[in-house]
Symmetry: C2
Subunit: 156 residues, 2 copies
Amino acid sequence: MMQHQNPVEDAFHIRKLEISDKEKGFIELLRQLTVCDSVSDEKFNERFEEIANYGDDHRICVIEDVRSGKIVATGSVFIEKKFVRNCGKAGHIEDVVVDSSARGLQLGKRIVEYLADHAHSMGCYKVILDCTEENRPFYEKCGFKKKEIQMVKYFV
Amino acid sequence: MMQHQNPVEDAFHIRKLEISDKEKGFIELLRQLTVCDSVSDEKFNERFEEIANYGDDHRICVIEDVRSGKIVATGSVFIEKKFVRNCGKAGHIEDVVVDSSARGLQLGKRIVEYLADHAHSMGCYKVILDCTEENRPFYEKCGFKKKEIQMVKYFV
């Protein structure tokens, strides 16, 4: 019996960040999250390579809208190696954003599940992230629970 | 004019984690923070080398009680490379603990300041950490402010 295809999954392809994604609106998407000026190709490529050097220890995933060829969602996770928890590992999810035109399609949930699955497959005993109180219900739907508070010190 | 020496700074030496610190009570100290069974020398050395491979991007610092030769405080920071904030970097402080017998000597503050200074020197635009509401006043004294909430998903 043929499997029914999910039209949303067909239209939106989730995968690792590729160097060509700069031309597909990746930086413009990040700008919906926080301050991010134009980045030169040289600077982008340099940072891309720096992150790629971490291999599976730093994964950035994106969702591409297959019809438009635009990146409409992204998020990252990096694997921290610890001594606690019997030399355990912890995944840190960062910089999750869905394009304002593509909300309501569960793309954020797919991103977070992809990143949590990656952390799990890397042997992490937990995956953590920081978010606003407003976004708490979304992450609860993704299987997360509130634990501590985040403290920050800015240098600029 | 000779500088007056700070007796606490003389008695407690802050520095990078060394591989010989396993013999100085480093794992026992971590056990005051969270679950950490006995770690074999082989496993310790392997994890030490994995972290050392990150160079300045993952710094673990310790304070040694010079008289006893014991590690009485520790903390770590790793540098996350981002695309946001114009290809900025963020420091993540983790696993800060002071030995129960050495509280009240401001060793925790020295650890956090050392780690924040390291993140700053690495070009981070911010340094972040997660803590309990109970530890918030301590981190405020270290120059941190509450920002978001921490969410966690455990795999074990």
